[in-house]
Structure formats: structure tokens, C-alpha cells
């Protein structure tokens, strides 16, 4: 008698080459019909030796079942091909689906998260600081003395107060009775963090900041910054350039050229503007970059020795860089938003696009 395995293989081969239901029936009859090959084997079991009967019976039954299943699947496949040709009442797939009410996340949250993620991957910890700040942390500690024209770089909201202190549950430092203000940048967190943590350190500080200035399409009285700080024994401007380049490459998801050019911030020395080659025109000059080919994306520099001193660190032991960028500007670049005020208006027709 032919080996069961061979019969199975033969049957499957024939089934595969079957083109229509007639041919499938033929295969069925040949193997599983009343006089089919497998049926015959099953029927003849009684004539087989007792020891062999069990084994043969089991595998014959198994093959029978498998073959039945395969025939069934093949039948369906063939009939589906036939159905396709026929016309049948079709569901109106153009009808709108049921709306699931899902809300929307604000574009700045999205960009903030992206910035945090990128820097976390580069080993930076995310840290926050208070929005109401003392004059000391916002200015003096950052080497911006009172009555110096450099202060004019930050138009400040001052709080009216009667000798009161800031109560911030997140800060254990009992600040001296100092004039209070709304922080004009996230840089105070540099000093706050270094007071409590010894280098080496790498932090990124996102947060809301404030400026007392006339509002227009690119200026708001409150906006968001992300501040970065890396301090170790031998951190250089060349390292800063590498980190900035990597960040913008990851953020814009393309290779971007960056350049550093001289600038002035009292809390960094040297100080830089970080320009990114315009991601729209690739540096050729367009309306987005005001024909310059470059976009001013961040301010940066090497931490000024005075800032280390303010935080109680020895500037001879440590070197580091800091940078700050506007999250609103990144969001506006990313989503092509042309007016910063849209971000704070809360108009659902705007927010529901994100």
C-alpha cells in the first residue's frame, strides 16, 4: 500500500492546482469520497494487524481532517473570486464613520515633549523652576547687575509686594527678601540647580517665561523657553556646537547646517547666537528666513565664571555650556503658524488642528 504521507502530498498538490469548484470536487472524490483513497484505507483498518492498526488509523484520520479543512478553504477562496465578478448590494462606504470624541494636545506641549525627549536621549534630565522669581536668581546671580544697561535686554514684570517672600514648595532655599518678578527667562534654574547638585550635570529646563513688551505676531507677554546646561571638567564650545547640531537634526528630522556667531549674554562668555540653515529654502533665502538663509534659533554660550560663583561652585574647576531656545518659535516653525498670539487665544478652531 502506498505510504499515507505520499497520498497526502499528492492530494495537496492536486488541490493547489485545482482551478474551479469542479476540479475541487474531483480531488474530494478521489481521496475522501465513498471510494476515495483515504476512505478506503480507513475502511480497511479492520484488516490490519492489531499492533499497526492504531497508528495507521490515527494518521489517516488526521490526514483526512487536514484535507477536509484545506478543501473548505480552497472552496471559499474560489467562490470569493467568483463573487467579486458578480454585483451584490454594497455597503455605502462613503458614509462618514461614527465620530469618536477625542480632544487635542496643544502644539507647545507637543514641541516641548519632543524637545525633552531628544535631550533625554542625549542624557539630559528634565528640570523645572518657579515662574515667580527673585531679582537675585533672575538677574544678579546671572551676572546682570542692577542699573546696568544690559538689564534693558529683559523688559520685566515686577510684582507689587510688601516685604513678602516667595513660597515655592519646590524650592527649599529660603530666599532673601528680594524684589519679586516674573522670570524673564529660564536661566535662573541654572543657578538654582547648581546650588543643589554638583557637576557633572546635564539638564534641560522647559518653562513659561514673561516679558513686558508690546505684542505682535512674534511677541507675547508670556511664552515658553527651554534652557539647557551641561557642566563637566572639559566642556567646550565645540561640544556645544555638536549638541546643538544633533538637536536640530533630530528635531527637524533632516541634516541641518548650523552656525555660531558672536552675541552677548551676561551669563555666558563667550556668547553665541545659534543659527540654523533655513529648513524651508535650505539656505537660499526665502520669506521664512527673511532672505537670510539662516534662522536664529537659540542663544548660547560658555557658562560665565560669575554664574558658577553665584551657585557656589569654583569656576576654576568646572566648565560648561548653556543655551536657551523659544519653544513657541519651534512650534511655529514646525506647524507653520504665523502668529504667536494664536497659541494663547484658546480658539478651538485652531487647537483642534493639532
Amino acid at each position: 500500500m502506498e505510504n499515507l504521507e505520499n497520498i497526502k502530498n499528492r492530494a495537496e498538490k492536486e488541490l493547489v492546482s485545482a482551478q474551479n469548484s469542479e476540479e475541487i470536487k474531483k480531488v474530494f472524490r478521489k481521496y475522501l469520497g465513498k471510494d476515495g483513497e483515504i476512505t478506503r484505507i480507513l475502511r480497511s483498518l479492520k484488516d490490519i494487524q492489531e499492533q499497526k492498526r492504531k497508528a495507521v488509523g490515527k494518521s489517516a484520520n488526521q490526514i483526512k481532517q487536514e484535507l477536509e479543512q484545506k478543501i473548505e478553504i480552497k472552496k471559499k477562496a474560489i467562490s470569493a473570486v467568483i463573487e467579486k465578478g458578480k454585483s451584490k448590494k454594497q455597503m455605502d462606504i462613503s458614509r462618514p464613520g461614527h465620530k469618536i470624541s477625542i480632544g487635542h494636545i496643544h502644539p507647545i506641549t507637543k514641541v516641548k515633549k519632543e524637545v525633552e525627549d531628544i535631550f533625554e536621549r542625549l542624557g539630559f534630565s528634565v528640570v523645572e523652576g518657579p515662574e515667580v522669581e527673585t531679582e537675585w536668581y533672575n538677574f544678579d546671580a546671572l551676572n546682570i547687575p542692577a542699573n546696568h544697561p544690559a538689564r534693558d535686554m529683559w523688559d520685566t514684570f515686577w510684582l507689587r509686594q510688601n516685604e513678602s517672600k516667595v513660597q515655592n514648595p519646590k524650592s527649599k532655599i529660603n530666599t532673601k527678601s528680594q524684589r519679586l518678578l516674573l522670570r524673564t527667562h529660564t536661566s535662573p534654574v541654572q543657578v538654582r540647580y547648581m546650588e543643589k547638585h554638583n557637576p557633572p550635570l546635564r539638564i534641560i529646563v522647559p518653562g513659561r517665561t514673561f516679558r513686558y513688551e508690546a505684542t505682535d505676531a512674534s511677541h507675547e507677554i508670556n511664552f515658553y523657553q527651554a534652557e539647557g546646561l551641561m557642566v563637566d571638567k572639559e566642556i567646550s564650545a565645540a561640544n556645544l556646537k555638536a549638541i546643538m547640531e544633533k538637536f536640530f537634526e533630530m528635531f527637524f528630522k533632516q541634516n541641518v547646517g548650523i552656525r555660531l556667531r558672536p552675541s552677548f549674554f551676561p551669563f555666558t562668555e563667550p556668547s553665541f547666537e545659534v543659527d540654523v540653515q533655513c529648513v524651508v529654502c535650505k539656505g537660499k533665502g526665502c520669506s521664512v528666513c527673511s532672505k537670510r538663509g539662516w534662522l536664529e534659533m537659540a542663544g548660547a554660550g560658555m557658562v560665565h565664571p560669575q554664574v558658577f560663583k553665584s551657585a557656589g561652585l569654583n569656576p576654576r574647576e568646572w566648565q560648561g555650556f548653556a543655551f536657551g531656545m523659544g519653544l513657541d518659535r519651534l512650534a511655529m516653525m514646525k506647524y507653520k503658524i504665523d502668529d504667536i498670539r494664536l497659541l494663547y487665544k484658546g480658539d478651538l478652531r485652531f487647537l483642534e488642528q493639532f
Partner: protein, 679 residues
């Protein structure tokens, strides 16, 4: 500040790069050039001189020195040679007294006699205009011209109008005032330093001249002043008077007293050239404490380590020399008095780096110990909770950190006030997020389809004034505005799911009790508000706001809100959970329906059900709540699914029946509760 290209060129024998090219170089090496535009035959460059360079670079000479450093072109000396007329001596005409040398570290002056006031030559007028100044007359123009050229503010007085041959530099007295050259009268006090004669005030020192000794068409003899005033004094004086001038800006940044002489001589020579007259022999010079150059030691290693690039000693020294710094063989650097910003090797690193060219810096990854970033739970939970609310149909908004005066004045609590509020609309710091969210809902409901349920939320910091000081905390607030009778319970369900997601289980809703210091009790409608508590701590509120919004069709829509202390919430969040084995034994569901008085709370009934047989009750679900005419007056019908399940065996029908019987009995022990049906 605007600069003339021709003027910059005038300091060089060799040709400077073309205007646009020069602007690009300046941007990459010194200061950002905002704009380059044609000005007749000349070009105007709008250069953003940074505040640290106000001493030397608010002048054409200063910018030319920058150009010289990066173009390697030799710059001409700005010094002029004065030919004095020795028939007379200045001492015979004027004496100067300085009351306080701290206010005025140096005071210089010269006299030119016999000038003829008229129009300036074309070259001067054009250059002034290119730099944004209007020509006045040849003497005043000359003073402005030399200021733009050298950075030292200068002033010319009509000598004939100075009484008593004497100039006094003193603080103003309360009640004094001056009629200034800008046709305004300024009231002065002891904050203002003035230039006076024996009778009257001639000028506000370092800020503005007065009319009393102004140059006019009849002026013959003039006294020219080149002085140095203390920067902070000038800044406070100028701020107090709200008067900012080309002179005050330069003095605020700290002018170089050692440069006063060069400027004085240049002005004298220029006036002689454009207005005639003779420079009288001698000059006033009161300079008791001469400012000397600082000596610093150059540390090449430090410079290269800051920049992360090898430049080499020779190149570093070449650059510093071009910038006017003298270096000695032992690497001592003499920092000239016009560079007060240079105080250490970090500063030398900047000077060297920028002139050498930052584009030559290669990107180099830092070599660091592999320290993983710390997880910030606050931020992680903030993101998770925002995502949850989004999934629950709420859209995130960012509001202003300020509220209007009108809204603030209606609040009970103590608000944080600003010394300089931005406007009536942005007047106080926000004491909560609800006010702005409400405004927002109102704004949106006017624009949107009236059917639409507005669901918005914000997480942000709010500010309240407390006895201990200003309290800043992070809040989570959400608002639902629209037509839905069940809004309260929808929001309550949002809280349930949110807390479940955040791993908080020991929370409950409690009756509202006003917290007077929040001043928020008048926001909530009585009878439709609840406190949210975790443990025994109140973390927030839930309820109906006291004020509805109007939609497009002018119909009112109730507003429900949620207000949670986010910092308190995050402290309770927990994503550690333990797997609880799924019972292998089947659960059985029984229902119970009961009639209770209308004021009975669902919570009370649930407490009773759970009290008795809680060991085997896995869950109790309210599936129906009905109040209606078919029911006895003042009653409502509640129906619950009770799910029984044991961990260790299959509960028998008899066991469940007996548990149900106990529950029913306990329910009916309450007066007015009537179990209607069970199955």
C-alpha cells in the same frame, strides 16, 4: 545704531570689503547687522552693538577697529593736532568746579573764540543724516559728528551766556528745573547732576543741554565740554526724567575717561574748520584719579580649552593686538580702558574665537561619564494626564498667566498684583485657571456649532497671596460647557478614570466646604459642587460654575468645572501595580432594586451593600436611577448589579441567596428604604 559705510572706510587707507560683504563679516565676527541700505552715494549699516561694548563700539572708530581686526587692514589714528592761539589763555575766561568727583571722574573743556554760526558742510550733514541725526548748525553738528565718530558725547555752550566765568558740576536741588533744547521743561532733584554757572542751570549733565546757554546765530565764543560722568548716576537720572538721548545712552554704558581728550581736540579742530574762530590756548582738565589699563595674564591653554580648538599663541596674540590690546613677552596683556568688558581669559577666548572665526570650530561630541538622565515624575505624569484628558475628549488650552482687572476685582481672595500691569486686560496674576478657561469657553461657544459640547482643560501655574508670601502652585482645571444634564457625573467619571489611571485608590468625593483663602467659593453653585479628597486631604473641587456661557444663538449653557491641585495629585500618582490573580471560579450576578427617599444618596446605599458581605462582593454597579410620576411622591428607584465571586471556590446558589438575604435585610433596616425586587 546706524553707521555710515564711507565713514568707516575713512579710517583705512586700503579698501574695505563692499558694504554687504562687510555687513556679513561684521555679523559673523562682531555684531549682528540688521540691515544694509543705500543712503545717497553712501550706505547705512544698522548694527546691533551689544550692551557690553557700549564703551567703544557706539562709534565709527570703534566699529572700524573691529573691521581692522577681521580684515587685517591697518587703521588710522583718530588723534587730531590742535593749533592753539596763544594770545589768550582759557584760565582768563572760565573756571570749573566739580562738587563730587565720583559723579564726574573727568571734566575737560576748551574755548574757541570768534566762530561764525551757519550751516555745516555737505559731507557732515550727509553723514549725520545717514546715521539718523538731523543737522542743526555747524557747531552743534560738529559736536554730534565727533560723538558719532569717537563715541564721546560732547557739548558746546555759548560762552557769552555763562555768568560769572564759572562752571559748577553739582547735583540739582529740589525745585530746580531746566528748559531743555528739546523745548521741554524738566523738573530736577538731587538724582540729577547738572552743569551750572553761578546763577543758573546750563545742562543736565550727560543727558541734555539747556536753552540758557544754547548756541544761536549770534553766538561768537563757545565753550566745548568733553566730560566723563558716572554711568549709574546718568542711568538713574535719565530714567527718572524719562529722557534717553544719544549722550545718556553712551554714558550709561560707561565712557572711557582717557578718550575724552582725543574727542575734545577733534571737536576743537573740526569747529575751527567748519565755523572758523581760534582755539584759545590751554584746556580745562580735572581728572584726579586717572584710570589705568588692567593687566591680565594670558592663559592660552584655558582659551583653547573653552573654545575646543587649537589656535596657537602667535595667532591669539595677533588678534588681541589688532583689537588694541598690548601684549608682552611674558604674556601679560594690558587691557585698554575702552574695553572694560574684558576681565579674564573667558573674554580673551571670545575675542580670539570670533575674530579667528567660529566657523572653524568643528563639532566635537563631549566625552562624558555615562550617567543616565533622571526621570522627572512631575513631567511624566503631566504628560500622561494630558494624554488621558485628550482621550477623554478634552482639548488642551494655554491661557495667559494674567487675569483682567474686572475679573480680579470680583474675586474674594488676595490677588498678586503687578507693579507694572500690562493693561486692564492683563492686570493681576491668575489666582486659578478657571476664570480664563471660562472666558475661553465663552469665546468658543460664540464661534462654534451651538450643539457642540465644549470640553477644554489646562495645566498651569497659579498665584495667590497668602500671609506667608506669594504661593505659586500648579493646577489642573477642566471645563465642560454645553447641553448635558449629566455633566456633573460625566466630570465625576472623568475624575474616577483619571485617578484609576494614576494609580490613586484612596480618594473620595465629599461635601463642599469653602476654603476662604482660595476666594473661590463664589465661583461654584451651591448644591452642585463636591470636594475631591485623597486620604483626608482636599485636592480639588468639582461642580457647576455660578455663571453660564452664551452660545451663538444667545442661549445659556451651563458650565461644569473641575479644579485639582496638580502638585498634590502628582505626589499621589503611582504606576506600580501588582497583578491580582484572576479567580478561576465563576462570578454570579444578582440585581437588587429599591425605593428610597429622594434625598437619599447613592453612596449611602452602596455603603450598606458593601458593608455586610464585602469579602465575596467583587463589584457593585448602579445601573438604573429613576424618579418619576409612577413612583410614590418623593421617592426614587435605584437598581444595582451585585457581583459575587470567591477567590478559592465556586459560590453555591444557597450561599449567594443567603448573602443577598442579609443585604436586603440590612437595606430595609433603614427607614424609608424598600427593596422592590431582586433576582
Amino acid at each position: 545704531m546706524l553707521f555710515s559705510y564711507d565713514w568707516l572706510q575713512s579710517f583705512f587707507k586700503d579698501k574695505l570689503p563692499a558694504p554687504k560683504k562687510l555687513a556679513e563679516l561684521l555679523t559673523l565676527r562682531s555684531f549682528e547687522v540688521e540691515e544694509v541700505k543705500r543712503a545717497g552715494k553712501d550706505w547705512a549699516l544698522d548694527i546691533n552693538v551689544t550692551p557690553d561694548r557700549g564703551t567703544d563700539c557706539l562709534s565709527h572708530f570703534g566699529i572700524s577697529r573691529e573691521c581692522s581686526a577681521f580684515t587685517k587692514l591697518k587703521i588710522k589714528s583718530p588723534k587730531s593736532k590742535v593749533k592753539e592761539n596763544n594770545k589768550d589763555n582759557i584760565k582768563d575766561f572760565i573756571q570749573v568746579e566739580i562738587k563730587n568727583n565720583n559723579d564726574c571722574p573727568r571734566y575737560m573743556g576748551r574755548i574757541i573764540s570768534g566762530v561764525k554760526i551757519g550751516v555745516s558742510p555737505k559731507r557732515i550733514r550727509e553723514r549725520l543724516r545717514t546715521c539718523g541725526l538731523e543737522p542743526i548748525n555747524n557747531v552743534v553738528d560738529a559736536a554730534n559728528y565727533v560723538m558719532l565718530e569717537l563715541g564721546q558725547p560732547l557739548h558746546a555752550f555759548d560762552l557769552g551766556k555763562i555768568s560769572g566765568k564759572k562752571i559748577v558740576v553739582r547735583r540739582a536741588k529740589a525745585g530746580e528745573s531746566i528748559d531743555a533744547l528739546d523745548d521741554k521743561k524738566y523738573k530736577l532733584d538731587k538724582k540729577n547732576l547738572v552743569i551750572a554757572d553761578s546763577k543758573k542751570i546750563l545742562a543736565i549733565a550727560g543727558i541734555k543741554g539747556g536753552k540758557s546757554a544754547a548756541i544761536d546765530e549770534n553766538t561768537k565764543d563757545i565753550f566745548i565740554e568733553s566730560a566723563n560722568f558716572e554711568p549709574v548716576m546718568v542711568r538713574l537720572s535719565s530714567q527718572g526724567l524719562k529722557l534717553k538721548t544719544d549722550a545718556s545712552v553712551r554714558f550709561e554704558h560707561g565712557a572711557d575717561p582717557n578718550f575724552a581728550e582725543t574727542a575734545l581736540d577733534s571737536l576743537a579742530v573740526l569747529i575751527e574748520e567748519v565755523a572758523g574762530g581760534k582755539i584759545i590756548e590751554g584746556k580745562i582738565d580735572i581728572y584726579p584719579k586717572k584710570l589705568l589699563p588692567k593687566k591680565l595674564k594670558l592663559d592660552l591653554e584655558k582659551i583653547e580649552s573653552i573654545l575646543g580648538i587649537k589656535i596657537g599663541q602667535k595667532e591669539v596674540i595677533r588678534i588681541l593686538n589688532f583689537l588694541g590690546l598690548e601684549t608682552k613677552a611674558d604674556l601679560t596683556v594690558a587691557v585698554p580702558t575702552w574695553r572694560p568688558d574684558l576681565a579674564g581669559n573667558e573674554d580673551f577666548a571670545e575675542e580670539t574665537g570670533r575674530i579667528y572665526g567660529y566657523e572653524k570650530l568643528k563639532s566635537v561630541y563631549p566625552r562624558l561619564a555615562l550617567i543616565p538622565a533622571k526621570k522627572n515624575d512631575d513631567i511624566l505624569w503631566e504628560e500622561k494626564i494630558k494624554d488621558f484628558l485628550k482621550e477623554a475628549g478634552f482639548s488642551e488650552t494655554y491661557g495667559y498667566s494674567f487675569i483682567s482687572k474686572r475679573a480680579g476685582d470680583a474675586m474674594e481672595g488676595k490677588l498678586v498684583e503687578l507693579e507694572n500691569p500690562f493693561s486692564e486686560q492683563f492686570y493681576y496674576l491668575r489666582p486659578n485657571l478657571l476664570l480664563n478657561l471660562y472666558e475661553n469657553a465663552q469665546y468658543n461657544s460664540r464661534n462654534l456649532n451651538p450643539e457642540k459640547m465644549i470640553k477644554i482643560f489646562e495645566i498651569g501655574n497659579v498665584f495667590n497671596k497668602r500671609k506667608e508670601g506669594i504661593m505659586e502652585k500648579k493646577m489642573l482645571s477642566a471645563i465642560m460647557a454645553g447641553e448635558n444634564e449629566e455633566s456633573f457625573y460625566v466630570l465625576k467619571g472623568v475624575v474616577d478614570s483619571l485617578f484609576e489611571k494614576a494609580g490613586i485608590s484612596d480618594y473620595y468625593f465629599d461635601d463642599y466646604q469653602a476654603t476662604p483663602e482660595d476666594g473661590e467659593s463664589n465661583l461654584w453653585e451651591a448644591g452642585e459642587r463636591a470636594e475631591i479628597k485623597i486620604g483626608d486631604r482636599e485636592v480639588g473641587f468639582l461642580g457647576k460654575l455660578n455663571f453660564p456661557v452664551f452660545n451663538k444663538d444667545r442661549q445659556t449653557r451651563e458650565v461644569y468645572a473641575l479644579n485639582i491641585d496638580f502638585d498634590a495629585l502628582v505626589r499621589e500618582c503611582n504606576d506600580e501595580s501588582e497583578y491580582e490573580p484572576i479567580s478561576k471560579f465563576p462570578a454570579a450576578v444578582r440585581d437588587v432594586a429599591l425605593l428610597v427617599p429622594g434625598e437619599t444618596r447613592v453612596g449611602e446605599v452602596l455603603d450598606v451593600i458593601n458593608a455586610g458581605e464585602s469579602r465575596h462582593i467583587r463589584d457593585v454597579d448602579l445601573f438604573d436611577l429613576y424618579e418619576g410620576p409612577e413612583l410614590p411622591e418623593g421617592k426614587k428607584n435605584l437598581a444595582f448589579h451585585i457581583i459575587f465571586q470567591a477567590k478559592d471556590r465556586t459560590l453555591t446558589g444557597r450561599e449567594i441567596d443567603s448573602m443577598m438575604a442579609k443585604i436586603i435585610q440590612q437595606l430595609e433596616d433603614n427607614s424609608g428604604w424598600e427593596v422592590r425586587k431582586t433576582n
